[in-house]
Amino acid sequence: MSDRISRQELAQRIAADIPEGSYVNLGIGAPTLVANYLPEDQEIILHTENGLLGMGGAPEEGRVDPDLINAGKQPVTIVPGAAYFHHADSFAMMRGGHLDVCVLGAFQVSQTGDLANWSTGAPGAIPAVGGAMDLAIGAKSVYVMTDLLAKDGSSKLVAACAYPLTGVGCVTRVYTDHAIFDLTPGGFAVREAFGENTVESLSALTGLELS
C-alpha cells in the first residue's frame, strides 16, 4: 500500500522546503536526517544549541574531537565561516527569534499548534527537557517531523495534547509519513497528501476535521 513515505524521503522533503540563507536547528533524533539532504550548492547554516553556528557532518575516523560536539553529544565538524559562542548567546539566538527554522520530533501536536515532545508524564520517569522548550517557542518556523500514527496506532495529531506540553500554539507545520499539514486558525490543513492519502482518509486516521 503506497500510503506512506520513508523517513529518508520525509527528511528529503523537509530539506527541499528550507530556503537558501536560512539559519536552521535540527532537533535530536530523526530531524538530524534532514542535514543529509540539504543541497551542497546552497548556504544553509546549521545551529547547534551547545554553541556553534556552521555545523558540518561527522568527522572522519580517528578525528573525533571531544570539544566539538552537537546537542546530541555526537562528534561533528565545522564549515568555513563557523562561529562558537556561549550558552546565553546560543539561547538568545533561539528565544530572540533569530533562527529561521527548527525541525523537532513530537509525541503529539494539537490542532491549535501545541507541541508535546519532552515527556510522556509516566510515573517514575526521570524528566529531562534540555533545549526543547526554547526551540519550540523561539524559531520563526517550527516544523515537526513525525510518523502520523504512534506505535499503538493512535494519531499523533490530536484535538488537545494528553502529554505534558513543550510549547503552546508554537507549531507551524507538521511533516508526517502520510501527509504534510499546516497549522491554520481553523486547525490542521492538508498541504500535501502522499500516495493514496486524501483529506477524507486522513480525517478518518486522525479523527479530526481537516481542511
Binding site: D67, K73, A88, M133
Partner: protein, 252 residues
C-alpha cells in the same frame, strides 16, 4: 602584582564549604572541569547544590561526585541520558533533589545573576508544567514567566588558556557554560590547559575577562591536542581509541 594562579587543584578548590552551591561547567564531557571535580571529591565538601546542564555521564567527573554522595540537589536541564546511571539510581532512591530548568532559562538565569539582574520574564516554558506556580505577565500581547537568577558560591570551569589575571579563551563547543558561570559565582575557579604570560592573549579575542575569575590552575594539555594542534586519536569521551568501547548511544 595580581596573580590569581594557584599551584595545584587542591589549592584551587580550597575553602568550598559543606552546603555550598557550586556551578560546574560543561555540556556532557565537553568543557567539564574533570580535574577540578576530582579535587572537589578529594576535598570532601558535602551537601552540595550543583548547577550543570546534565547530571553526570558514566562514572567519572560529575557522576563520580554524585556517586560519592556529596550532592544534595542538582539544578539542570537534562539529567536523563543513556549513561546517567549514577544520577538515575540516586534519584529513584530519593537521595537527590532535582530542579529541572529548560536549558535556555538555565543559561539566562546564570547570566542574570552575573549581570546583576534581579529577575526576568521569559517566554520559554509558558503553559507547561515547568512554569506552574510561577508569576506570569503579558507584555505586548505575549505571555512570559518570571525567572530568578541562579547564583553560586563557587564556579568550577575549564578553559583552554589563561593568564595570571584570569583572562581566558576556550576551545570550540567546550566554551558552553564557562563564560556565564564565571560571572555568577562569588569565587570562580578555572582549570586551563596552559598558563600563558600576561599580554600573550590578543585582547580582541579574550572571551572571559579576568575580572570574573578568582583562581587559575594549569592542568596540562588535553589528550587530543599536541602543542595546541588537534591530533585526534581519541573517542568522544577523550579516551585513547585503543581503549574505547563501541560507539555510544545518541541522546541529548
Amino acid at each position: 602584582m595580581i596573580d590569581k594562579t594557584v599551584p595545584d587543584v587542591a589549592a584551587a578548590v580550597a575553602g568550598i564549604p559543606d552546603g555550598a552551591t557550586v556551578m560546574i561547567g560543561g555540556f556532557g564531557r565537553a568543557g567539564q572541569p574533570v580535574e577540578l571535580i576530582d579535587a572537589l571529591i578529594a576535598h570532601g565538601a558535602s551537601e552540595l547544590t550543583i548547577v550543570n546542564n546534565n547530571a553526570g555521564n558514566g562514572d567519572t567527573g560529575l557522576a563520580a561526585l554524585l556517586a560519592a554522595k556529596r550532592v544534595r540537589k542538582i539544578i539542570c536541564s537534562f539529567p536523563r541520558q543513556h549513561d546517567s546511571w549514577v544520577f538515575d539510581g540516586l534519584y529513584r532512591a530519593g537521595e537527590i533533589e532535582l530542579e529541572l530548568v529548560p536549558q535556555g532559562n538555565l543559561a539566562e538565569r546564570i547570566r542574570a545573576a552575573g549581570a546583576g539582574v534581579g529577575a526576568f520574564f521569559s517566554p520559554t516554558g509558558v503553559g507547561t508544567v515547568l512554569a506552574e506556580g510561577k508569576e506570569s505577565r503579558v507584555i505586548d500581547g505575549r505571555e512570559y514567566v518570571l525567572e530568578y537568577p541562579i547564583r553560586a558560591d563557587f564556579a568550577l570551569i575549564s578553559a583552554l588558556k589563561g593568564d595570571r589575571w584570569g583572562n581566558l579563551v576556550f576551545r570550540e563547543t567546550a566554551r558552553n557554560f564557562g563564560p556565564i558561570m564565571a560571572t555568577a559565582a562569588t569565587t570562580t575557579v578555572v582549570q586551563v590547559d596552559e598558563l600563558i604570560p600576561l599580554g600573550a592573549l590578543d585582547p580582541e579575542t579574550v572571551v572571559t575577562p579576568g575580572i570574573f575569575v578568582d583562581r587559575v590552575v594549569a592542568v596540562g594539555e588535553r589528550a587530543w591536542l599536541s602543542d595546541g594542534v588537534f591530533v585526534g586519536g581519541v573517542d568522544i569521551e577523550g579516551r585513547p581509541l585503543t581503549d574505547a568501547p563501541a560507539e555510544a548511544e545518541v541522546d541529548q
